[in-house]
């Protein structure tokens, strides 16, 4: 009996040792071969090239960058651009998804049918095809001189121009950060069970809201460019449109694609959440005399969100990964800057390592934070009623 036990143990040990040895041999062999191949091209392995100037310029820039900037700045720019379009894309996809989900669950069969058609069309066509289509559409809009205009905005082949504020970029970004932080705080305050039961919870929420608003306004005021009006309206000057905010077709096509395609998926997830909400909950709310709007935003929506948040988190991670499609329309996302750097600098192994590490960190951080949120707001014990 003992001998059989030890022999099984010994076999397990041997198997694991062999497995580990093979894995190490494959990784080590690849690394050695990679270094040899790089050396044959006259490139030595190392990250020193990150401090070299790139010598080329890129299209979409959130931070200052030109051909004299370094590779590390370029990669930082790419990560920022990815996060930027990812954040807007996920929010937009959520809005679209919520609207479609409400359309499909509101009990109106016409709207249900329209929502179904939407989901079936846009879910069954690859995202890249949709993004390329929107890009083709946006770049074929009329030139600035014959732009479609209205509401002080212009739709042109060079991008969409909307009114903006005359503030410096840094201050605008800071104001956005304050608003995002404030909204996150408010969401946590109102959805966390522990915090929403504090005696002064209502006061706290008002306080956070007011602080956020005043902080953002103050930041914007500090960042005002002197000698210019507060609002910068786009207007046609010569052959181009000046002032205002230009939304490039690259960014916009990726954003529309993410919103439309991701929205179709998210609507299905949220709809499942609405349908999973117990009928008794809604009936109880109605019998308490709550208005339809109160029933929706106090009972149905919070319960639905809690039911499907884990699935939604996966969808958000997936949508963020979809920002890599930016390369198909020339948006300078993380993957695009790595790809162009590999072409220019040749440090293939290092750059692909940075790319993979970057995605691992971003995706896992996102999943970690959202899973914490999920845990904080999850229903427990006798709250789980149907």
């Amino acid at each position: 009996m003992l001998s059989m036990f030890t022999s099984r143990k010994a076999r397990a040990f041997a198997l694991q040792a062999i497995f580990l040895a093979v894995v190490i041999a494959v990784i080590g062999g690849a690394f050695v071969e990679g270094r040899r191949n790089l050396a044959a091209q006259g490139i030595t392995f190392g990250f020193g090239f990150l401090n070299h100037t790139t010598g080329f310029d890129v299209g979409f820039k959130l931070i200052s960058y030109d051909s004299y900037s370094t590779y590390s700045r370029l990669i930082f720019l790419g990560i920022l651009d990815s996060l930027f379009v990812g954040a807007f894309g996920i929010v937009a996809a959520n809005l679209v998804g919520l609207v479609i989900a409400i359309m499909r669950t509101a009990g109106n069969s016409t709207f249900n049918a329209l929502g179904t058609v939407y989901v079936e069309i846009f879910r069954n066509i690859p995202l890249i095809l949709q993004v390329v289509f929107w890009y083709a559409l946006l770049t074929r809009l009329p030139p600035p001189r014959h732009a479609l205009s209205g509401f002080d905005s212009f739709l042109t082949s060079r991008g969409v121009y909307i009114p903006g504020l005359n503030v410096t970029g840094g201050h605008a970004a800071a104001a956005c950060a304050i608003v995002i932080a404030g909204l996150t705080g408010l969401t946590v305050l109102s959805m966390s069970r522990r915090l929403s039961r504090l005696p002064f919870a209502r006061l706290l929420r008002w306080g956070v809201g007011l602080a956020t608003l005043s902080g953002a306004v103050l930041t914007l005021h500090l960042g005002r460019i002197s000698g210019t009006p507060l609002v910068s309206l786009p207007k046609l000057q010569g052959f181009n449109i000046q002032e205002g905010i230009r939304i490039s077709p690259e960014f916009l096509s990726l954003l529309i694609g993410m919103a439309v395609y991701g929205g179709a998926y998210i609507s299905e997830i949220i709809r499942a959440g609405f349908l999973a909400t117990g009928k008794g909950q809604v009936e109880a709310a109605q019998s308490l005399g709550l208005t339809p709007w109160q029933v929706f935003h106090r009972v149905r929506l919070p319960l639905a969100i809690r039911a499907v948040l884990p699935t939604l988190i996966n969808q958000y991670v997936w949508l963020f990964k979809a920002t890599t499609l930016g390369i198909a329309v020339g948006y300078t996302d993380f993957f695009a800057v790595i790809s162009v750097s590999i072409n220019q600098a040749g440090h293939t192994l290092e750059l692909i390592g940075i790319l993979m590490l970057g995605f691992l960190v971003i995706n896992n951080a996102m999943a970690l934070v959202l899973n914490r949120v999920n845990k904080a707001i999850a229903l427990r014990g006798n709250q789980l009623r149907s």
């Binding site: 397990a12 198997l15 694991q16 497995f19 580990l20 894995v23 062999g29 690849a30 690394f31 071969e33 990679g34 191949n37 790089l38 009990g107 109106n108 069969s109 016409t110 709207f111 329209l114 079936e120 069309i121 069954n124 066509i125 690859p126 995202l127 890249i128 095809l129 390329v132 289509f133 083709a136 074929r140 499942a272 349908l275 999973a276 991670v317 990964k321 979809a322 890599t324 499609l325 390369i327 198909a328 993957f335 790809s339 590999i342 293939t348 192994l349 692909i352 790319l355 993979m356 995605f359 691992l360 995706n363 896992n364």
Partner: protein, 359 residues
């Protein structure tokens, strides 16, 4: 997933109808929705059918000058390019035949009579060999065509079929390895699966196509198309392995314990008891994965393959037809739609059928 209202509940249906008709605001909304839909449909119909030009007698875009509808003539002139890419003109019958073989194999494997592992495997391997011989040539008097010349819809179908064919066994292997009782093997496999899952597919395809030549010795390199297929199948396998693993975990522990008590070996337990039931549990997410993977084949255009999207772009890209980009994109989208939609409908049918079997 499918928590829907009961379809055969007359009182509920009546209540619905009553509520809808009794509330004027609902009726107004319905009228608005129907009106809007009718308007959009009418405009699309006008564009796509009534005012459209379908053929171009002389092969140029002259017929489409000054029309207000769709110029489907571009499809009439360029459909070979979209479907077959740069495949040699006189050999294109082979490309279409190969595509047809895979589609027939796919349809056959949807029939319950083929739902045995050996039959399914045999069918797919036979179909795939036939596909490869038809496409690559070199034997039976067929002239050989290099993979660089493959393109269009056939290339998309090839990458998909090959990826699934390699990916499915890999997924099973990965799932079993991850469930291994040996900690080192389970941990490393878990790391591998989670690593791949947190990367976008495009970075994996990019690595397979452009980075692998750096880190593989030349004798192991193979053609670019095979490296991409392997990258694609690894990505599929990482996701599918998790589906299978959750299918295994959903099994009652008694199943495996009973098998152990009967003295079955690991392989007997796995292949006769665990996996068949796990597949049944994992069917809905598996079908979903198949559907998603078909759409994701379109990413190969980024690493320079001439798939149906790229060939579509080429079809309107030259100056003559550049105005007809909407028609071409709609055509390509329709191709994807037909494949993906029928796949997901079949998945829904399968789910219903299996649920019936369980009661």
């Amino acid at each position: 997933m499918s928590v829907t209202t009961l379809p055969h509940d007359p009182t509920r249906k009546q209540a619905h109808r009553k509520r809808r008709l009794s509330r004027p605001i609902d009726m107004a909304f319905s009228a608005l929705g129907i009106g809007l839909a009718a308007l959009v449909l009418w405009r699309i119909f006008n564009w796509a059918v009534l005012n459209a030009v379908w053929i171009s007698p002389d092969g140029t875009s002259k017929v489409c000058r000054g029309i207000s509808g769709a110029c489907w003539a571009v499809i009439d002139v360029r459909w070979r390019l979209i479907l077959f890419g740069l495949f040699p003109f006189e050999e294109q019958w082979r490309s279409s035949l190969a595509c047809l073989v895979i589609v027939i194999v796919a349809i056959l494997s949807c029939l319950p009579r083929f739902w045995r592992a050996p039959r399914l495997a045999g069918l797919w391997i036979a179909g795939f060999v036939a596909f490869y011989v038809l496409m690559a040539g070199g034997i039976f008097g067929l002239t050989s065509v290099a993979p660089e010349k493959w393109g269009g819809l056939t290339l998309t179908v090839f990458i998909y079929a090959a990826g699934m064919l390699i990916g499915m066994p890999t997924a099973i292997g990965l799932a079993l390895l991850r469930r291994s009782t040996m900690p080192v093997i389970a941990k490393i496999t878990g790391l591998f699966i989670d690593g791949i899952r947190s990367l976008p597919l495009i970075t994996i395809l990019f690595t397979a196509a452009l980075i692998m030549p750096f880190v593989l010795p030349p004798w192991l390199l193979g053609d670019k198309i095979w490296r991409v297929v392997i990258g694609f199948s690894l990505f599929f396998a990482a996701y599918e392995a998790e589906n299978i693993r959750s299918g295994i975990q959903a099994l009652p522990a008694g199943q495996e314990e009973a098998a152990k008590a009967l003295g079955l070996t690991y392989w007997q337990r796995t292949t006769r008891i665990v996996l068949p039931q796990a597949f049944r549990n994992a069917l809905p997410p598996t079908i979903n994965q198949f559907v998603i993977s078909f759409k994701e084949t379109s990413l190969i255009v980024i690493i320079g393959f001439f798939d149906v999207m790229a060939s579509g772009k080429a079809a309107f890209g030259t100056g003559d037809w550049s105005f007809a980009w909407v028609e071409v994109y709609v055509f390509v989208a329709l191709i994807y739609f037909v494949f993906v939609f029928s796949l997901s409908r079949y998945g829904a049918y399968l789910e219903r059928r299996l649920r019936v079997g369980q009661h």
